[in-house]
Protein backbone atom coordinates (compact mmCIF):
# COMPACT_ATOMS: atom_id res chain seq x y z
CA UNK A 1 0.00 0.00 0.00
CA UNK A 2 2.83 2.35 0.98
CA UNK A 3 4.55 1.61 -2.34
CA UNK A 4 1.34 2.34 -4.22
CA UNK A 5 0.95 5.71 -2.46
CA UNK A 6 4.57 6.56 -3.25
CA UNK A 7 4.10 5.55 -6.90
CA UNK A 8 0.98 7.70 -7.17
CA UNK A 9 2.80 10.67 -5.62
CA UNK A 10 5.59 10.33 -8.20
CA UNK A 11 2.94 10.10 -10.93
CA UNK A 12 1.24 13.23 -9.59
CA UNK A 13 4.54 15.10 -9.49
CA UNK A 14 5.20 13.96 -13.08
CA UNK A 15 1.84 15.21 -14.38
CA UNK A 16 2.11 18.55 -12.56
CA UNK A 17 5.70 19.06 -13.76
CA UNK A 18 4.67 18.22 -17.33
CA UNK A 19 1.74 20.66 -17.17
CA UNK A 20 3.88 23.47 -15.78
CA UNK A 21 6.57 22.75 -18.37
CA UNK A 22 3.90 22.97 -21.07
CA UNK A 23 2.52 26.38 -20.14
CA UNK A 24 5.92 27.89 -19.38
CA UNK A 25 7.38 26.55 -22.66
CA UNK A 26 4.65 28.30 -24.64
CA UNK A 27 4.67 31.45 -22.46
CA UNK A 28 4.01 33.82 -25.40
CA UNK A 29 0.64 32.06 -25.77
CA UNK A 30 -0.12 31.54 -22.08
CA UNK A 31 1.49 34.15 -19.84
CA UNK A 32 2.12 37.12 -22.10
CA UNK A 33 -1.41 37.72 -23.52
CA UNK A 34 -3.13 38.18 -20.11
CA UNK A 35 -0.35 40.58 -19.11
CA UNK A 36 -0.95 42.72 -22.22
CA UNK A 37 -4.76 42.53 -21.98
CA UNK A 38 -4.81 43.46 -18.31
CA UNK A 39 -2.33 46.28 -18.81
CA UNK A 40 -4.75 47.70 -21.41
CA UNK A 41 -7.67 47.33 -18.97
CA UNK A 42 -5.68 49.19 -16.31
CA UNK A 43 -4.81 52.00 -18.70
CA UNK A 44 -8.21 52.38 -20.37
CA UNK A 45 -10.73 51.48 -17.68
CA UNK A 46 -8.65 52.31 -14.65
CA UNK A 47 -6.74 55.42 -15.65
CA UNK A 48 -8.61 57.07 -18.51
CA UNK A 49 -12.28 56.22 -17.85
CA UNK A 50 -11.92 55.39 -14.15
CA UNK A 51 -10.68 58.88 -13.29
CA UNK A 52 -14.00 60.28 -14.56
CA UNK A 53 -16.12 57.64 -12.78
CA UNK A 54 -14.78 58.53 -9.36
CA UNK A 55 -15.03 56.14 -6.41
CA UNK A 56 -16.84 52.85 -5.97
CA UNK A 57 -17.46 50.97 -2.72
CA UNK A 58 -15.33 53.49 -0.90
CA UNK A 59 -12.28 52.99 -3.13
CA UNK A 60 -10.96 54.60 -6.27
CA UNK A 61 -12.30 52.95 -9.41
CA UNK A 62 -8.85 51.59 -10.23
CA UNK A 63 -8.52 49.99 -6.78
CA UNK A 64 -12.05 48.60 -7.13
CA UNK A 65 -11.48 46.80 -10.43
CA UNK A 66 -8.06 45.30 -9.59
CA UNK A 67 -9.47 42.23 -7.73
CA UNK A 68 -12.02 41.67 -10.50
CA UNK A 69 -9.39 41.82 -13.22
CA UNK A 70 -7.15 39.39 -11.31
CA UNK A 71 -10.08 36.99 -10.98
CA UNK A 72 -10.95 37.42 -14.65
CA UNK A 73 -7.42 36.32 -15.58
CA UNK A 74 -7.51 33.40 -13.17
CA UNK A 75 -10.86 32.14 -14.49
CA UNK A 76 -9.87 32.35 -18.15
CA UNK A 77 -6.39 30.91 -17.72
CA UNK A 78 -7.24 28.04 -15.37
CA UNK A 79 -10.02 26.95 -17.68
CA UNK A 80 -8.11 27.27 -20.91
CA UNK A 81 -5.02 25.56 -19.52
CA UNK A 82 -6.82 22.34 -18.69
CA UNK A 83 -9.21 22.35 -21.63
CA UNK A 84 -6.43 22.86 -24.18
CA UNK A 85 -3.90 20.58 -22.52
CA UNK A 86 -6.27 17.65 -21.99
CA UNK A 87 -7.96 18.03 -25.36
CA UNK A 88 -4.56 18.15 -27.08
CA UNK A 89 -3.62 14.93 -25.29
CA UNK A 90 -6.83 13.37 -26.54
CA UNK A 91 -6.33 14.75 -30.03
CA UNK A 92 -2.75 13.49 -30.29
CA UNK A 93 -3.77 10.31 -28.44
CA UNK A 94 -0.95 10.86 -25.95
CA UNK A 95 -3.60 10.58 -23.23
CA UNK A 96 -3.25 6.84 -23.88
CA UNK A 97 0.16 7.02 -22.19
CA UNK A 98 -1.67 7.90 -18.99
CA UNK A 99 -4.59 5.54 -19.46
CA UNK A 100 -2.43 2.43 -19.98
CA UNK A 101 -0.37 3.23 -16.88
CA UNK A 102 -1.48 2.32 -13.35
CA UNK A 103 -2.09 5.97 -12.38
CA UNK A 104 -5.28 6.41 -10.37
CA UNK A 105 -8.02 8.58 -11.95
CA UNK A 106 -7.78 10.85 -8.88
CA UNK A 107 -4.08 11.44 -9.57
CA UNK A 108 -4.74 12.20 -13.24
CA UNK A 109 -7.45 14.69 -12.34
CA UNK A 110 -5.56 16.35 -9.50
CA UNK A 111 -2.49 16.58 -11.74
CA UNK A 112 -4.35 18.39 -14.50
CA UNK A 113 -6.23 20.58 -11.99
CA UNK A 114 -2.93 21.55 -10.32
CA UNK A 115 -1.60 22.55 -13.74
CA UNK A 116 -4.63 24.81 -14.24
CA UNK A 117 -4.42 26.23 -10.72
CA UNK A 118 -0.71 26.97 -11.07
CA UNK A 119 -1.22 28.75 -14.39
CA UNK A 120 -4.08 30.71 -12.84
CA UNK A 121 -1.86 31.71 -9.90
CA UNK A 122 1.07 32.57 -12.20
CA UNK A 123 -1.16 34.87 -14.24
CA UNK A 124 -2.66 36.33 -11.03
CA UNK A 125 0.84 37.14 -9.84
CA UNK A 126 1.70 38.82 -13.17
CA UNK A 127 -1.53 40.88 -13.13
CA UNK A 128 -0.99 41.85 -9.49
CA UNK A 129 2.54 43.05 -10.21
CA UNK A 130 1.21 45.01 -13.22
CA UNK A 131 -1.51 46.61 -11.09
CA UNK A 132 1.17 47.96 -8.76
CA UNK A 133 2.26 50.28 -11.58
CA UNK A 134 -1.20 51.86 -11.53
CA UNK A 135 -2.44 51.74 -7.96
CA UNK A 136 -1.73 50.69 -4.41
CA UNK A 137 -2.88 47.12 -3.64
CA UNK A 138 -3.63 46.15 -0.05
CA UNK A 139 -4.69 42.73 1.21
CA UNK A 140 -7.48 42.93 3.73
CA UNK A 141 -7.68 39.20 4.54
CA UNK A 142 -4.87 37.00 3.20
CA UNK A 143 -6.53 33.69 4.14
CA UNK A 144 -9.77 34.46 2.29
CA UNK A 145 -7.84 35.90 -0.66
CA UNK A 146 -5.78 32.71 -1.07
CA UNK A 147 -8.71 30.36 -0.41
CA UNK A 148 -10.94 32.11 -2.95
CA UNK A 149 -8.34 32.37 -5.68
CA UNK A 150 -7.32 28.70 -5.31
CA UNK A 151 -10.94 27.53 -5.15
CA UNK A 152 -11.82 29.59 -8.23
CA UNK A 153 -8.86 28.27 -10.17
CA UNK A 154 -9.74 24.70 -9.11
CA UNK A 155 -13.40 25.08 -10.14
CA UNK A 156 -12.52 26.39 -13.59
CA UNK A 157 -9.77 23.84 -14.05
CA UNK A 158 -12.29 21.08 -13.36
CA UNK A 159 -14.79 22.76 -15.66
CA UNK A 160 -12.13 22.88 -18.38
CA UNK A 161 -11.48 19.19 -17.86
CA UNK A 162 -15.15 18.31 -18.42
CA UNK A 163 -15.20 20.49 -21.55
CA UNK A 164 -12.08 18.70 -22.86
CA UNK A 165 -13.60 15.27 -22.25
CA UNK A 166 -16.71 16.11 -24.28
CA UNK A 167 -14.93 18.14 -26.97
CA UNK A 168 -14.60 16.49 -30.37
CA UNK A 169 -12.73 19.24 -32.17
CA UNK A 170 -10.90 22.48 -31.45
CA UNK A 171 -14.10 24.53 -31.96
CA UNK A 172 -15.68 22.70 -29.03
CA UNK A 173 -13.04 23.95 -26.63
CA UNK A 174 -13.61 27.60 -27.47
CA UNK A 175 -17.42 27.62 -27.25
CA UNK A 176 -17.67 27.70 -23.45
CA UNK A 177 -14.98 30.37 -22.89
CA UNK A 178 -16.41 32.59 -25.64
CA UNK A 179 -20.15 32.24 -25.14
CA UNK A 180 -20.45 31.44 -21.43
CA UNK A 181 -17.39 32.42 -19.41
CA UNK A 182 -16.70 35.80 -21.00
CA UNK A 183 -20.29 37.14 -20.66
CA UNK A 184 -20.64 35.77 -17.13
CA UNK A 185 -17.30 37.33 -16.15
CA UNK A 186 -18.19 40.75 -17.57
CA UNK A 187 -21.57 40.55 -15.82
CA UNK A 188 -19.97 39.18 -12.64
CA UNK A 189 -19.18 42.50 -10.98
CA UNK A 190 -15.64 42.86 -12.30
CA UNK A 191 -16.18 46.48 -13.34
CA UNK A 192 -19.12 47.52 -11.16
CA UNK A 193 -20.97 46.97 -7.92
CA UNK A 194 -24.37 45.32 -8.32
CA UNK A 195 -25.74 48.12 -6.11
CA UNK A 196 -25.75 50.16 -9.34
CA UNK A 197 -28.25 47.77 -10.92
CA UNK A 198 -32.06 47.88 -10.63
CA UNK A 199 -33.40 45.35 -8.07
CA UNK A 200 -34.49 42.85 -10.76
CA UNK A 201 -31.01 42.71 -12.30
CA UNK A 202 -29.45 42.58 -8.85
CA UNK A 203 -31.48 39.41 -8.21
CA UNK A 204 -30.54 37.99 -11.60
CA UNK A 205 -26.88 38.72 -10.95
CA UNK A 206 -26.99 36.62 -7.79
CA UNK A 207 -27.48 33.56 -10.01
CA UNK A 208 -24.14 34.26 -11.67
CA UNK A 209 -21.53 32.13 -9.87
CA UNK A 210 -18.71 34.37 -11.04
CA UNK A 211 -20.25 37.30 -9.15
CA UNK A 212 -19.80 35.36 -5.91
CA UNK A 213 -16.19 34.51 -6.73
CA UNK A 214 -15.25 38.05 -7.74
CA UNK A 215 -16.90 39.55 -4.68
CA UNK A 216 -15.40 37.02 -2.29
CA UNK A 217 -11.97 37.81 -3.73
CA UNK A 218 -12.66 41.55 -3.59
CA UNK A 219 -13.53 41.09 0.07
CA UNK A 220 -10.17 39.38 0.63
CA UNK A 221 -8.32 42.26 -1.02
CA UNK A 222 -10.39 45.34 -0.18
CA UNK A 223 -12.71 44.19 2.60
CA UNK A 224 -15.87 45.13 0.63
CA UNK A 225 -18.35 42.82 -1.08
CA UNK A 226 -21.83 42.86 -2.61
CA UNK A 227 -22.58 39.36 -1.29
CA UNK A 228 -22.17 37.36 1.91
CA UNK A 229 -18.70 35.79 2.05
CA UNK A 230 -19.82 32.66 3.89
CA UNK A 231 -22.43 31.92 1.23
CA UNK A 232 -19.96 32.56 -1.59
CA UNK A 233 -17.30 30.26 -0.13
CA UNK A 234 -19.86 27.54 0.64
CA UNK A 235 -21.17 27.70 -2.94
CA UNK A 236 -17.63 27.47 -4.27
CA UNK A 237 -16.84 24.45 -2.10
CA UNK A 238 -20.02 22.70 -3.24
CA UNK A 239 -19.24 23.51 -6.89
CA UNK A 240 -15.71 22.15 -6.51
CA UNK A 241 -16.93 18.88 -4.95
CA UNK A 242 -19.68 18.39 -7.56
CA UNK A 243 -17.31 19.10 -10.47
CA UNK A 244 -14.61 16.84 -9.00
CA UNK A 245 -17.12 13.99 -8.67
CA UNK A 246 -18.30 14.47 -12.26
CA UNK A 247 -14.72 14.51 -13.55
CA UNK A 248 -13.81 11.32 -11.68
CA UNK A 249 -16.91 9.63 -13.07
CA UNK A 250 -15.91 10.65 -16.61
CA UNK A 251 -12.37 9.37 -16.10
CA UNK A 252 -13.48 6.09 -14.57
CA UNK A 253 -15.95 5.31 -17.34
CA UNK A 254 -13.46 6.55 -19.94
CA UNK A 255 -15.98 8.78 -21.65
CA UNK A 256 -14.48 10.17 -24.85
CA UNK A 257 -11.26 8.28 -24.16
CA UNK A 258 -12.08 4.58 -24.07
CA UNK A 259 -14.25 2.73 -26.58
Amino acid sequence: MKTEVKANLIALQTIVYREVRRFTRIWPQTLLPPAITMALYFVIFGNLIGSRIGGMGGFSYMEYIVPGLIMMSVITNSYSNVVSSFFSSKFQRSVEELLVSPVSPHVILIGYACGGILRGLAVAAIVTVLSLFFTHVQVHHLGITLLVIILTAAIFSLGGFINAVYARNFDDISIVPTFILTPLTYLGGVFYSIDLLPPFWQGMSMANPILHMVNAFRYGILGVSDIRIGVAISLMLIAAVVLYTCCIRLLTTGRGMRH
Partner: protein
Amino acid sequence: MNTALSIRQLTKTYGNGFQALKGLDLDVNEGDFFALLGPNGAGKSTTIGILSTLVNKSSGQVSVFGNDLDRDPAGLKRCLGVVPQEFNFNQFEKAFDILVTQAGYYGIPARLAKERAEEYLTQLGLWDKRDTPSRMLSGGMKRRLMIARALIHKPRLLILDEPTAGVDIELRRSMWSFLTGLNQQGVSIILTTHYLEEAEQLCRNIAIIDHGTIVENTSMRELLQKLHVETFVLDVKQSLSVAPALQGYPVKLMGSHALEVQVDKSVGINGLFVQLNAQGIEVVSMRNKANRLEELFVSLVEKNLAKVAK
Protein backbone atom coordinates in the same frame (compact mmCIF):
# COMPACT_ATOMS: atom_id res chain seq x y z
CA MET B 1 5.17 -22.82 -16.26
CA ASN B 2 3.31 -19.65 -15.27
CA THR B 3 0.65 -18.18 -17.48
CA ALA B 4 1.56 -14.70 -18.70
CA LEU B 5 -1.83 -14.01 -20.25
CA SER B 6 -5.15 -15.71 -19.75
CA ILE B 7 -8.27 -14.68 -21.66
CA ARG B 8 -11.60 -16.41 -21.13
CA GLN B 9 -14.80 -15.92 -23.14
CA LEU B 10 -13.89 -12.36 -24.03
CA THR B 11 -16.55 -10.49 -25.93
CA LYS B 12 -16.76 -6.96 -27.23
CA THR B 13 -19.68 -5.32 -28.94
CA TYR B 14 -19.14 -1.69 -29.98
CA GLY B 15 -21.78 0.99 -29.67
CA ASN B 16 -22.74 0.61 -33.34
CA GLY B 17 -23.61 -3.04 -32.71
CA PHE B 18 -20.49 -4.49 -34.32
CA GLN B 19 -19.40 -7.60 -32.45
CA ALA B 20 -15.60 -7.53 -32.61
CA LEU B 21 -14.94 -10.42 -30.21
CA LYS B 22 -17.21 -13.42 -29.82
CA GLY B 23 -16.03 -15.38 -26.80
CA LEU B 24 -12.28 -15.39 -27.31
CA ASP B 25 -10.14 -17.82 -25.26
CA LEU B 26 -6.37 -17.53 -25.24
CA ASP B 27 -3.44 -18.53 -23.01
CA VAL B 28 0.13 -17.37 -23.41
CA ASN B 29 2.84 -18.90 -21.26
CA GLU B 30 5.52 -16.97 -19.45
CA GLY B 31 8.62 -16.56 -21.60
CA ASP B 32 6.79 -17.25 -24.83
CA PHE B 33 7.25 -15.35 -28.07
CA PHE B 34 3.71 -15.54 -29.35
CA ALA B 35 2.20 -14.48 -32.67
CA LEU B 36 -1.38 -13.25 -32.79
CA LEU B 37 -2.32 -13.11 -36.44
CA GLY B 38 -5.48 -12.32 -38.28
CA PRO B 39 -6.80 -10.34 -41.22
CA ASN B 40 -7.79 -6.69 -40.83
CA GLY B 41 -10.85 -6.33 -38.61
CA ALA B 42 -10.42 -9.80 -37.11
CA GLY B 43 -10.28 -8.50 -33.52
CA LYS B 44 -6.53 -8.30 -32.80
CA SER B 45 -6.44 -4.59 -32.00
CA THR B 46 -9.67 -4.85 -29.97
CA THR B 47 -8.08 -7.63 -27.90
CA ILE B 48 -4.95 -5.53 -27.35
CA GLY B 49 -7.12 -2.50 -26.60
CA ILE B 50 -8.94 -4.42 -23.88
CA LEU B 51 -5.66 -5.64 -22.39
CA SER B 52 -4.30 -2.13 -22.26
CA THR B 53 -7.66 -0.87 -20.87
CA LEU B 54 -8.20 1.49 -23.79
CA VAL B 55 -11.23 -0.54 -24.84
CA ASN B 56 -13.91 -1.61 -22.35
CA LYS B 57 -14.79 -5.28 -22.70
CA SER B 58 -18.42 -6.38 -22.89
CA SER B 59 -17.86 -9.61 -20.94
CA GLY B 60 -15.25 -12.21 -20.12
CA GLN B 61 -12.14 -12.45 -17.96
CA VAL B 62 -8.63 -11.23 -18.61
CA SER B 63 -5.60 -11.64 -16.39
CA VAL B 64 -1.91 -10.92 -16.83
CA PHE B 65 0.40 -12.87 -14.52
CA GLY B 66 -2.60 -13.55 -12.29
CA ASN B 67 -3.64 -9.88 -12.05
CA ASP B 68 -7.30 -9.75 -12.98
CA LEU B 69 -8.39 -6.84 -15.19
CA ASP B 70 -11.55 -6.22 -13.15
CA ARG B 71 -10.16 -6.73 -9.65
CA ASP B 72 -6.64 -5.32 -9.99
CA PRO B 73 -6.26 -3.23 -13.15
CA ALA B 74 -3.27 -1.34 -11.72
CA GLY B 75 -1.46 -4.63 -10.97
CA LEU B 76 -2.19 -5.82 -14.52
CA LYS B 77 -0.93 -2.58 -16.03
CA ARG B 78 2.33 -2.75 -14.10
CA CYS B 79 3.12 -6.15 -15.71
CA LEU B 80 2.21 -5.03 -19.19
CA GLY B 81 3.94 -2.93 -21.86
CA VAL B 82 2.05 -2.09 -25.03
CA VAL B 83 3.43 -0.83 -28.33
CA PRO B 84 0.35 0.39 -30.20
CA GLN B 85 -0.11 0.35 -33.94
CA GLU B 86 -0.46 4.12 -34.29
CA PHE B 87 1.88 6.78 -32.96
CA ASN B 88 0.47 8.30 -29.79
CA PHE B 89 3.16 10.64 -28.53
CA ASN B 90 2.90 14.22 -27.54
CA GLN B 91 4.23 15.66 -30.80
CA PHE B 92 6.01 18.52 -29.08
CA GLU B 93 7.87 16.57 -26.41
CA LYS B 94 11.45 15.44 -26.80
CA ALA B 95 12.21 11.71 -27.04
CA PHE B 96 14.02 11.68 -23.68
CA ASP B 97 11.22 13.57 -21.91
CA ILE B 98 8.60 11.18 -23.31
CA LEU B 99 10.37 8.24 -21.70
CA VAL B 100 11.03 9.97 -18.36
CA THR B 101 7.41 11.17 -18.18
CA GLN B 102 6.09 7.70 -18.97
CA ALA B 103 8.32 6.25 -16.23
CA GLY B 104 6.89 8.79 -13.82
CA TYR B 105 3.36 7.55 -14.55
CA TYR B 106 4.54 4.14 -13.33
CA GLY B 107 5.91 5.64 -10.12
CA ILE B 108 9.57 5.32 -11.13
CA PRO B 109 11.71 7.99 -9.42
CA ALA B 110 13.25 10.58 -11.75
CA ARG B 111 16.88 9.46 -11.35
CA LEU B 112 16.08 5.83 -12.21
CA ALA B 113 13.76 6.97 -15.01
CA LYS B 114 16.59 8.96 -16.60
CA GLU B 115 18.98 6.01 -16.34
CA ARG B 116 16.47 3.72 -18.02
CA ALA B 117 15.64 6.27 -20.68
CA GLU B 118 19.34 6.46 -21.55
CA GLU B 119 19.63 2.66 -21.51
CA TYR B 120 16.74 2.05 -23.92
CA LEU B 121 17.42 5.01 -26.19
CA THR B 122 21.00 3.74 -26.55
CA GLN B 123 19.93 0.14 -27.15
CA LEU B 124 17.45 1.21 -29.80
CA GLY B 125 19.86 3.57 -31.51
CA LEU B 126 18.04 6.78 -30.54
CA TRP B 127 20.40 8.33 -27.99
CA ASP B 128 21.60 11.00 -30.42
CA LYS B 129 17.94 11.92 -31.01
CA ARG B 130 17.14 12.32 -27.32
CA ASP B 131 16.53 16.07 -27.57
CA THR B 132 14.53 15.86 -30.79
CA PRO B 133 10.76 16.51 -30.54
CA SER B 134 8.92 13.33 -31.46
CA ARG B 135 7.26 14.92 -34.49
CA MET B 136 10.70 15.43 -36.06
CA LEU B 137 11.59 11.72 -35.88
CA SER B 138 11.32 9.40 -38.87
CA GLY B 139 8.71 6.61 -38.92
CA GLY B 140 11.26 3.98 -37.93
CA MET B 141 12.56 6.12 -35.09
CA LYS B 142 9.04 6.69 -33.80
CA ARG B 143 8.43 2.92 -33.81
CA ARG B 144 11.61 2.36 -31.80
CA LEU B 145 10.70 5.16 -29.41
CA MET B 146 7.34 3.47 -28.80
CA ILE B 147 9.17 0.23 -27.97
CA ALA B 148 11.47 2.09 -25.56
CA ARG B 149 8.45 3.76 -23.96
CA ALA B 150 6.67 0.43 -23.51
CA LEU B 151 9.76 -1.03 -21.82
CA ILE B 152 10.56 1.86 -19.48
CA HIS B 153 8.80 0.20 -16.51
CA LYS B 154 10.35 -3.21 -17.30
CA PRO B 155 7.10 -5.09 -18.04
CA ARG B 156 6.97 -8.89 -17.86
CA LEU B 157 4.66 -9.07 -20.87
CA LEU B 158 5.24 -6.93 -23.94
CA ILE B 159 2.56 -6.64 -26.60
CA LEU B 160 3.57 -5.25 -29.98
CA ASP B 161 0.84 -4.34 -32.43
CA GLU B 162 2.50 -4.36 -35.87
CA PRO B 163 5.77 -2.88 -34.60
CA THR B 164 7.59 -3.06 -37.94
CA ALA B 165 4.87 -1.60 -40.17
CA GLY B 166 6.52 0.82 -42.60
CA VAL B 167 10.01 0.02 -41.36
CA ASP B 168 12.78 -0.77 -43.86
CA ILE B 169 14.19 -4.29 -43.91
CA GLU B 170 17.52 -3.42 -42.29
CA LEU B 171 15.84 -1.71 -39.37
CA ARG B 172 13.25 -4.48 -39.17
CA ARG B 173 16.00 -7.05 -38.75
CA SER B 174 17.70 -5.01 -36.04
CA MET B 175 14.34 -4.76 -34.24
CA TRP B 176 13.92 -8.54 -34.54
CA SER B 177 17.34 -9.00 -32.98
CA PHE B 178 16.46 -6.59 -30.15
CA LEU B 179 13.14 -8.34 -29.46
CA THR B 180 14.75 -11.79 -29.53
CA GLY B 181 17.31 -10.60 -26.97
CA LEU B 182 14.52 -9.20 -24.82
CA ASN B 183 12.65 -12.51 -24.98
CA GLN B 184 15.82 -14.38 -24.02
CA GLN B 185 16.04 -12.16 -20.93
CA GLY B 186 12.64 -13.54 -19.88
CA VAL B 187 10.17 -10.99 -21.23
CA SER B 188 7.09 -12.69 -22.66
CA ILE B 189 6.16 -11.18 -26.00
CA ILE B 190 2.96 -11.15 -28.03
CA LEU B 191 3.35 -9.89 -31.57
CA THR B 192 0.78 -9.02 -34.18
CA THR B 193 2.10 -8.44 -37.65
CA HIS B 194 1.16 -8.55 -41.29
CA TYR B 195 4.68 -9.68 -42.19
CA LEU B 196 4.17 -13.41 -41.76
CA GLU B 197 7.85 -14.03 -42.33
CA GLU B 198 8.42 -12.02 -39.15
CA ALA B 199 6.05 -14.22 -37.15
CA GLU B 200 7.63 -17.38 -38.56
CA GLN B 201 11.15 -16.21 -37.71
CA LEU B 202 10.46 -14.90 -34.21
CA CYS B 203 7.54 -16.73 -32.65
CA ARG B 204 7.33 -20.17 -31.05
CA ASN B 205 3.58 -20.29 -30.71
CA ILE B 206 0.80 -18.80 -32.77
CA ALA B 207 -2.89 -18.06 -32.66
CA ILE B 208 -4.92 -17.00 -35.65
CA ILE B 209 -7.94 -14.86 -34.94
CA ASP B 210 -10.73 -14.27 -37.40
CA HIS B 211 -14.20 -12.79 -37.03
CA GLY B 212 -13.66 -12.42 -33.28
CA THR B 213 -12.70 -15.98 -32.47
CA ILE B 214 -9.51 -18.02 -32.40
CA VAL B 215 -9.47 -20.32 -35.42
CA GLU B 216 -6.05 -21.85 -34.73
CA ASN B 217 -3.86 -21.96 -31.62
CA THR B 218 -0.77 -24.12 -31.73
CA SER B 219 3.01 -24.11 -31.92
CA MET B 220 4.62 -22.65 -35.02
CA ARG B 221 6.27 -26.00 -35.80
CA GLU B 222 2.98 -27.93 -35.64
CA LEU B 223 1.24 -25.34 -37.74
CA LEU B 224 3.88 -25.41 -40.44
CA GLN B 225 3.68 -29.21 -40.50
CA LYS B 226 0.08 -28.85 -41.60
CA LEU B 227 1.29 -27.37 -44.84
CA HIS B 228 1.08 -30.35 -47.24
CA VAL B 229 1.76 -28.56 -50.47
CA GLU B 230 4.34 -25.86 -51.14
CA THR B 231 4.58 -23.81 -54.29
CA PHE B 232 8.03 -23.07 -55.69
CA VAL B 233 9.14 -20.79 -58.48
CA LEU B 234 12.07 -22.20 -60.49
CA ASP B 235 14.19 -19.96 -62.71
CA VAL B 236 15.48 -22.05 -65.61
CA LYS B 237 18.37 -21.46 -68.01
CA GLN B 238 16.58 -22.49 -71.22
CA SER B 239 13.87 -20.48 -72.88
CA LEU B 240 10.60 -22.46 -72.71
CA SER B 241 7.49 -21.98 -74.80
CA VAL B 242 5.33 -24.61 -73.04
CA ALA B 243 5.44 -26.04 -69.53
CA PRO B 244 7.25 -29.39 -69.38
CA ALA B 245 5.22 -32.46 -68.36
CA LEU B 246 6.30 -33.45 -64.86
CA GLN B 247 4.66 -36.54 -63.36
CA GLY B 248 3.35 -35.89 -59.82
CA TYR B 249 4.19 -32.18 -59.97
CA PRO B 250 1.51 -29.75 -61.25
CA VAL B 251 3.44 -27.12 -63.20
CA LYS B 252 2.71 -23.78 -64.88
CA LEU B 253 4.87 -21.72 -67.17
CA MET B 254 5.55 -18.25 -65.75
CA GLY B 255 7.17 -16.45 -68.65
CA SER B 256 9.86 -17.99 -70.82
CA HIS B 257 12.40 -18.67 -68.04
CA ALA B 258 10.31 -19.50 -64.97
CA LEU B 259 8.15 -22.39 -63.82
CA GLU B 260 5.70 -22.53 -60.92
CA VAL B 261 5.63 -26.03 -59.44
CA GLN B 262 3.50 -27.45 -56.65
CA VAL B 263 5.33 -29.96 -54.47
CA ASP B 264 3.41 -32.33 -52.21
CA LYS B 265 5.39 -33.01 -49.01
CA SER B 266 4.61 -36.76 -49.26
CA VAL B 267 6.19 -36.85 -52.75
CA GLY B 268 9.29 -34.77 -51.96
CA ILE B 269 11.33 -32.49 -54.19
CA ASN B 270 14.10 -34.82 -55.46
CA GLY B 271 11.89 -36.39 -58.15
CA LEU B 272 11.24 -32.94 -59.59
CA PHE B 273 14.93 -32.34 -60.26
CA VAL B 274 15.37 -35.84 -61.67
CA GLN B 275 12.58 -35.24 -64.19
CA LEU B 276 13.81 -31.75 -65.12
CA ASN B 277 17.33 -33.08 -65.56
CA ALA B 278 16.03 -35.87 -67.80
CA GLN B 279 14.35 -33.26 -70.00
CA GLY B 280 17.54 -31.21 -70.18
CA ILE B 281 16.11 -28.31 -68.19
CA GLU B 282 18.70 -26.64 -65.97
CA VAL B 283 17.47 -24.88 -62.82
CA VAL B 284 19.34 -21.64 -62.03
CA SER B 285 17.58 -20.80 -58.79
CA MET B 286 14.42 -21.58 -56.83
CA ARG B 287 12.30 -19.88 -54.17
CA ASN B 288 9.02 -20.29 -52.32
CA LYS B 289 6.23 -18.55 -54.18
CA ALA B 290 4.80 -17.37 -50.87
CA ASN B 291 5.99 -17.53 -47.29
CA ARG B 292 4.96 -20.93 -45.84
CA LEU B 293 3.03 -19.35 -43.00
CA GLU B 294 1.31 -17.06 -45.47
CA GLU B 295 -0.04 -20.04 -47.42
CA LEU B 296 -1.42 -21.59 -44.22
CA PHE B 297 -2.80 -18.28 -43.01
CA VAL B 298 -4.66 -17.67 -46.23
CA SER B 299 -6.05 -21.21 -46.27
CA LEU B 300 -7.23 -20.99 -42.62
CA VAL B 301 -8.83 -17.61 -43.07
CA GLU B 302 -10.54 -18.69 -46.28
CA LYS B 303 -11.91 -21.81 -44.56
CA ASN B 304 -13.22 -19.69 -41.70
CA LEU B 305 -14.74 -17.21 -44.11
CA ALA B 306 -16.64 -20.04 -45.80
CA LYS B 307 -17.83 -21.28 -42.38
CA VAL B 308 -18.99 -17.80 -41.35
CA ALA B 309 -20.76 -17.34 -44.71
CA LYS B 310 -22.73 -20.57 -44.11
